[in-house]
């Protein structure tokens, strides 16, 4: 089972397909879950404290807006952990954790820089594209180390 970063990190479709084909999707939910379960922090809603943008300095310089650095504090460690990535390049309406275009650009760049295997594709807009979309993801995931049918 490989750890596969999904982009958008909030994607239902990618989260489902990666898990369906027996790999572990790394997405926003994991980062958020980790934080909201941390006891003793009172910073609703996401339990992201002003410390997180400071941790984000590892991924983006101080002149980068705090929202980018705070988001990178969630995604940076997940990207480092990732062994592969599936990217949908036309995810224009992914909100919240994915709602900042600058962060999204930095996430994509970091993934492409990391040297892990990456599949880039677009959302399907027809049955035919749907068939290709699912087939491409299945093929990509099957080809990953430790991948394949369970």
């Amino acid at each position: 089972m490989a750890k596969v970063f999904i982009y958008p990190a909030t994607s239902l479709i990618l989260s489902d397909l990666v898990a369906r084909f027996n790999h572990k999707p790394l997405g926003a939910a994991l980062g958020i879950r980790e934080r909201i379960q941390t006891a003793g922090i009172d910073s609703p809603p996401l339990q992201i404290t002003p410390e997180e943008p400071k941790r984000g300095l590892k991924y983006a310089a101080v002149e980068v807006p705090s929202g980018v650095r705070g988001r990178m504090a969630i995604y940076g460690p997940l990207i480092e952990e990732a062994e592969a990535a599936v990217i949908v390049t036309d995810a224009d309406l992914a909100f919240g954790c994915m709602g900042c275009a600058r962060t999204d650009e930095l996430i994509l760049f970091s993934l492409r820089q990391s040297g892990i295997p990456i599949l880039e594709l677009k959302y399907p807009t027809s049955d035919e594209e749907g068939i290709r979309f699912v087939a491409a993801i299945k093929k990509f995931l099957t080809g990953l180390p430790d991948g394949g049918e369970a």
Binding site: S15, R20, Y123, I131
Partner: protein, 137 residues
């Protein structure tokens, strides 16, 4: 651990999905929603339930991790006055699920994957452009 279960199926409503899920829930908390379910419990129990749920209608049921447990006051619509931003993202992808379903069905049946039509967008031929300009003037 919480997971979303989305159902976009002609064979099963969220209500029916919930009823069948309850039968195999084994201590996992199930909350019915407008799009399907949220299931919460110990990770192994949730994963076990998810495996079961997927078998109900594999090509029409979709699963996603959720950071928050259901009804968490920090994220609950009742307290925010409006949907959390993630809801709208789900709305966006929900529209596409039928294509994914089609892709899963094709995979199941071993259908050949259609070649992507190679669309080449060519610029307008310069001579044709000249003709068009001449026609207009």
């Amino acid at each position: 651990m919480t997971k979303y279960v989305f159902v976009e199926s002609p064979f099963m409503t969220p209500g029916e999905l919930a009823l069948r899920a309850y039968e195999v829930s084994e201590g996992v908390l199930i909350k019915e929603t407008c799009f399907g379910l949220q299931v919460t419990g110990a990770p192994e129990a949730v994963d076990h339930l998810i495996t079961e749920i997927r078998t109900f209608d594999p090509n029409h049921i979709f699963i996603k991790d959720r950071g928050f447990p259901p009804g968490d006051p920090r994220r609950c619509r009742a307290n925010l006055g409006g949907a959390r931003p993630g809801y709208l993202g789900h709305e966006r992808e929900f529209r596409l699920l039928r294509y994914i379903t089609r892709g899963l069905e094709a995979l199941e049946r071993g259908e050949a994957v259609p070649e992507a039509a190679r669309e080449k967008i060519r610029g307008l031929d310069i001579q044709r452009l000249q003709e068009l300009i001449d026609e207009e003037s």
